[in-house]
Amino acid sequence: MVERGEVVEIDADEAARRVAAGEVEAFASLVERTTPALFRLAARMMGNAVDAEDVLQDSYHRAFDALVGGEFRAESGVASWLYRIVANTALNALRSTKRRRATVDVDSIELEDPDAAGDARAALAELGRMLDELPALERSAIVLKEIEGRTSREIAELLGCSEGAVEQRLVRARAALRAKGAS
């Protein structure tokens, strides 16, 4: 914990422990600590910032309910736990027909380095277009593997399927991307 004047800063794990113990106000600290990384994950999976924000809101609702309901086990740390929630919420959103297909609200994204704004926005838009035709599970697998840098075993744990199923999805996704690239 870091004290800065009257503001007491706590890390994400401490915030999660406090929320689970009934100090629900600490949830704001948890959101503040974890949003940057989770936004990047959600944006990469969804391919646009608007859907990413919806996914994050849904994920934090679920996380809050789980914390106050005593369903969180702290073995892996709250950041990993939230990462899993966001990955699954994004997968469910990708399966939904309500999502915004290939509509990219990149202007709403702010960047740490303004000079890189145009390029990062263009990259997200390009990623969204490149993966837009893939089925939800294949798209999620390829983003988690090739963009997030997760292993097949980690992806299997995240998405609740076997490692073999992940490999199969990756093969199909790559085949589809090759075919799309060739067409």
């Binding site: 990469r44 609702h61 990259a123 090759r178 690239g181």
Partner: protein, 87 residues
Amino acid sequence: MSDEIDARLASLRERTERLAAPPALAARLALGVATRRAQPTLEGSIVRLARPFAAAFAAAAAIALALAFTDTVDDELALAADVELAP
């Protein structure tokens, strides 16, 4: 995977590393959770709205049951009378 697709994904990975959430996003998300907590659930609202009518529903159900029972008894009595009165 073809080298071209590998290279394209690797490039997109690197370029999207620089994506950052809008500064106000965390505050909006936390507010979203707090707002939902403050609002009653839909189910709770429906139960609360229906509560004043529960007695009326129960009374109506009791009357309907009583009428149905009465009709049944009347039918049975009538049937019995028919049987007895039959030549």
